[in-house]
Amino acid sequence: MAEEQEKQTGLGIVTGTVEEARAMIGHVSEPTYAEVGVNWAMIKYYSALIEDANPSYWDQEFATKQWGDIIAPPGMLITYMIPINWRPQGTVDYPVIATKVPLPGPTLINFSAETEFFKPIRIGMHLNFVDEVLDISEEKATRVGVGHFVTTVMTYRDSDGDTVAKNTNVMYRYTAKEYS
């Protein structure tokens, strides 16, 4: 059942032992490049989701005067590292390193995220990111199951190499109660 649950995520979650996981602390991923540049269509669709009427996302004149162009809501940052879910060449591996750390837990839920933003994310920018494993916790039980917390830091850069944002993320990799 646990294997079946992992397959359904489509994230290529790697399972293994906590000792194998700890060996990955300090590992930094190769850069991943966003599938598409920052664009107004995705900004509008995300802003519609949040029902966010900030003119920075909707009004070209205001946004150009204030930020230099239309900008992306900061909540979209992580979207730029999620691979498109189909390509003619085949599916693309999910680049988030917390899914590649070998741990017993076949599923996951995000626990916390601390993000610093250093510059506005403008239309036309092409972002890339690298992901580093900072820590693996002891085994811990929570309301949803038993597992480990994986702390990673993602650094986002633009095509000039400037750091746009850093995201320190804690992901819970766990076995759900009914599977444990």
């Binding site: 649950q5 359904q8 995520t9 489509g10 994230l11 995705m42 669709y45 995300y46 519609a48 989701l49 949040i50 029902e51 966010d52 009427a53 900030n54 003119p55 920075s56 909707w58 009004d59 004149e61 205001f62 204030q66 809501p73 900061p74 909540g75 979209m76 992580i78 979207t79 999620i82 691979p83 498109i84 879910n85 599923t107 839920i109 995000n110 626990f111 916390s112 995220a113 601390e114 993000t115 610093e116 933003f117 506005p120 309301r143 949803v144 199951g145 759900a176 109660k177 009914e178 599977y179």
Partner: protein
């Protein structure tokens, strides 16, 4: 007037006008199943807990639930709806203590905890935002925003 686009946020608070203890205006939003599916499509996050109720239940969840990226955008919106569109979010920390499910009504509200100037001369405001649903608070969010002074805004 900041914008001529009808319906857009068209007011701005300035750093000089903000004090510790100020309330940040509450925002509410219905979260029907359509919204959770829109969440997956708009963020490209098709983790099955966000679109497949059977999978969500196998994870120990009630049904499909909104993603971190939705919480983050909603928390940012609570601050920028209140302060205005000249606001730049410089830092945001979110703790996913609970979930918001399809069928819920969510809210966000907050309070100013600190106003200060950093070493780089930026005028900053710290806000503690709480995002919850009809069952109470679910996610605390700490946000730092750079908000211009009246003099900077001209």
């Amino acid at each position: 007037m900041l914008t001529e686009v009808e319906g857009c946020v068209n007011h701005q608070l300035y750093w000089d006008d903000i004090a510790e203890g100020d309330d940040v205006t509450r925002v509410e939003m219905a979260v029907p199943y359509e919204k959770v599916i829109h969440n997956a499509a708009a963020t490209w996050d098709f983790f099955p807990g966000h679109h497949n109720p059977e999978y969500a239940r196998s994870q120990g969840q009630k049904t499909i639930f909104i993603s971190t990226l939705f919480f983050q955008g909603f928390a940012d919106r609570v601050v920028t709806d209140w302060a205005g569109p000249l606001t730049f979010i410089t830092r945001r920390k979110i703790m996913m203590r609970g979930s918001v499910y399809a069928g819920d009504t969510m809210y966000g509200e907050g309070k100013v905890t600190r106003t200060y100037v950093d070493a780089g001369g930026r005028h900053l405001v710290d806000v503690e935002v709480v995002i919850g649903n009809q069952d109470g608070p679910q996610c605390p969010v700490s946000i730092t925003a750079a908000i211009p002074t009246k003099a900077e805004a001209g």
